[in-house]
């Protein structure tokens, strides 16, 4: 192994993706990594500010616009927060429809990430379109799987990007059972394709690295978590109702980033597929559980590169859940339950594809918003991403700048941050320190 002396700086100039424009700076001197910063310079859009004074019915539509990749997560966290403030809870078939819509988003987002963003890293292609030149069947399988996720969102939400059918208390209209059942043949095909996807990504070669963090996710008593009202860490040191989230977790504003950094009073943590899997593997539906056994993944998976396998297992689970919900679906008597505004505070949480998303609203008697807080998953994962980068660079200093840069990009994409493709524009500048 050759050792470099002197310094070098890896500079990712434009992490331009999804929830963020960002950049990566890594400074190295004499084989020691001095600093690793993930800078998110996506211009601030001030959602929490302009929500003040708006009507309680508006956050599902307004906060959806925070992210075009996971709008349903914002809709569901805002709905449950406001409903809890008003003392109501959406149950039964309406809750199942919400879960179905959310399954559509997990499928759309996860398949996009697996096939189009992350797999090309492992296989050495710049992107899925280039990958299709040699693996057309694979890419076409991914596109069809993703399309079926989008169709679920259109069926329940009216539109795949920024669904229009979601409201506080439920939906504007409930989908027709006949039309739902028409999707079953495609969903069954997709379930098989998802199983094949798990086996495919399991053949990838995974860099050796293990992260040292706690896994934090929503938990549900009877199923793999998507929406729920408790938050747990896999070690069991944390098990709290959603209302206590901000007693333990905070956001820190650091100079280099427009995304606030998530902080836990007990130390480093991550949210997302690895956290859900660590907390709830035993609640996976049968096909997904079988897939996990087949690839021999259990409990706490500490290699973040293997998140692509866990994502693929969650896609299996999402298709299974979608099939189950549609088969059992009975049209609800009303598309929404009534709500009555009152002065109060409400907390809501749900599992966006990339992890736990928390909302809090202070509401006035007339139903207007006094103030609100939104803690997105990417902000919470940012310190862990920086931590991983630091160690990955330290462990791989013998690599060429090009290879090390590629590895850094791939490391960032492990978290499917809303800045994944940002890492596509990485530039290295050597400096003598």
């Amino acid at each position: 192994m050759s050792h470099r002396t002197g310094g070098r700086i890896l500079n990712v100039k434009a992490l331009a993706r999804v929830e963020g424009e960002g950049a990566l700076h890594v400074a190295v001197r004499d084989n020691e990594v001095l600093d690793a910063k993930l800078q998110i310079y996506e211009p601030p859009r001030f959602f929490e500010a302009f929500l003040e004074g708006r009507d309680f019915r508006e956050p599902p539509d307004i906060t959806a616009r925070i992210c075009g990749i996971c709008p349903v997560a914002y809709q569901m966290s805002s709905c449950t927060a406001i409903e809890s403030a008003f003392g109501v809870s959406v149950e039964g078939q309406l809750a199942e429809l919400r879960r179905l819509l959310y399954c559509g988003e997990w499928i759309e987002s996860h398949v996009l990430h697996i096939y189009m963003l992350h797999a090309p890293d492992f296989l050495g292609y710049p992107g899925a379109i280039e990958m299709a030149a040699e693996h057309r069947d694979l890419v076409q399988r991914g596109l069809r799987m993703k399309k079926i996720g989008n169709q679920l969102m259109e069926l329940v939400g009216g539109r795949a990007i920024h669904p229009v059918n979601v409201r506080i208390g439920g939906f504007y209209s409930s989908p027709d059972p006949e039309r739902m059942r028409e999707m079953l043949p495609d969903l069954r095909w997709a379930l098989d394709a998802a199983q094949e996807t798990v086996d495919w990504v399991n053949t990838f070669s995974f860099p050796a690295y293990e992260g040292d963090w706690e896994f934090v996710s929503v938990v549900q008593p009877d199923r793999y978590p998507i929406m729920g009202d408790r938050i747990r860490s896999a070690s069991g040191v944390l098990d709290i109702p959603v209302a206590e989230f901000l007693d333990h977790f905070s956001e820190e504003h650091v100079a280099h980033s427009n995304a606030l950094h998530g902080k836990w009073d007990r130390g480093q943590y991550v949210v997302g597929p690895l956290a859900r899997f660590a907390n709830a593997q035993d609640q996976l539906p049968p096909g997904a559980a079988a897939a996990a056994d087949r690839v021999d993944l259990h409990g706490e998976v500490r290699n973040p590169y293997k998140s692509i396998i866990v994502r693929a297992i969650e896609v299996v689970a999402a298709y299974e859940e979608a099939i189950r919900i549609i088969e059992d679906y009975v049209r609800p008597t009303a598309p929404a339950i009534p709500v009555r505004p009152r002065a109060s505070v409400g907390h809501g949480v749900s599992e966006a594809p990339r992890g736990l998303l928390y909302h809090r609203y202070f509401l006035k008697d007339d139903g207007s918003i006094d103030s609100c807080d939104i803690v997105p998953p990417t902000a919470q994962n940012q310190p862990a991403i920086e931590h991983d980068l630091l160690h990955v660079v330290e462990d791989n200093l013998s690599l060429s700048d090009a290879d090390l840069t590629h590895l850094c990009e791939q490391t960032i994409r492990n978290y499917d941050p809303c800045i994944s493709c940002a890492t596509h524009f990485l530039e290295i500048r050597r400096v003598d320190v």
Partner: protein, 266 residues
């Protein structure tokens, strides 16, 4: 030679460029018909300009982006602005009518770290835009049609009629008249296929105003439904606020707009 296409992001949610990746049935064919020279969401392969077509998502909210959009224009044959952010400043343009320093204090512990202009402005306020596709998000059918037209060498056409017309053509019962639900369909440009009315919900204007919009007539109707002027103002001024504000200002005093000279306050 294949036309060279670039996709650029400014301040936005990424949903409109995702619409391109959501063209699952057409994406690989598109990849054959054009050269995707710059599209960070899809590929890390980055080709230098000039580009035949630049698709631009997002609004301008920083000094750096004011410069960057000029470079895009200089390097592009045709510029297509996609979505409510690029064509109207987006939902983040709500700050244009507020105190941005106050906004910084509400969201950030250290407002001094935050680099932002006081306004969020559409691409067309900074450079010449050749084609605009509206919507929050855009309709992917409109996007594909526009790209196809440009590849074939003619100007894309998009409908400019109001959502109302789509409801009539598609046999959707009027939510405003028959259900008494507030709806911006009469003054909003179509493109969505009357999505919200089709599920029994009023249109909330995410495609911005139609050419033929008559604000006065709708405002009077909304007041009759019991909406306050504040409520009407918020309904119009969310997803395409700069366009609706301009419309209201242009029509004030003409008998076709403004909320000062007609109707009864409820």
């Amino acid at each position: 030679m294949k036309p060279r296409i670039a996709v650029w992001k400014f301040s936005s949610c990424d949903g409109c460029q995702l619409s391109l990746l959501d063209c699952e049935d057409e994406l690989l064919a598109l990849g054959n018909a054009v050269e995707i020279a710059y599209f960070l969401e899809a590929t890390s392969r980055v080709e230098d300009g000039p580009y035949d077509v630049s698709i631009v998502e997002g609004s301008i909210t920083t000094a750096h982006d004011e410069e960057r959009i000029q470079e895009v224009r200089e390097n592009s044959g045709v510029v297509v602005a996609i979505g409510a952010c690029a064509t109207a400043g987006g939902i983040q343009a709500l700050k244009n009518f507020a105190d941005v320093e106050e906004y910084k204090r509400i969201v950030y512990a250290h407002p001094e770290y935050v680099d932002t202009l006081a306004t969020s402005t559409p691409i067309g306020e900074h450079i010449k835009v050749d084609v605009e596709l509206r919507g929050c998000p855009i309709d992917r059918g409109q996007l594909l049609a526009a790209i196809s037209a440009l590849v074939l060498g003619h100007a894309p056409r998009t409908k400019t009629s109001p959502v109302c017309l789509d409801c009539k053509q598609n046999g959707i019962t009027c939510v405003l008249v028959s259900k008494g639900r507030p709806c911006l369909g009469p003054i909003t440009q179509t493109g969505c296929g009357a999505l919200c009315p089709s599920i029994g919900r009023g249109c909330f204007g995410c495609f911005g105003p139609a050419d033929t919009a008559n604000v006065d007539a709708l405002t009077a109707q909304l007041r009759q439904l019991g909406m306050t002027d504040v409520g009407i103002d918020e309904m119009m001024n969310t997803y395409a606020t700069t366009q609706f504000r301009k419309l209201v200002a242009d029509q004030a005093g003409t008998g076709r707009g403004g909320s000062d000279d007609s109707g009864e306050q409820v």
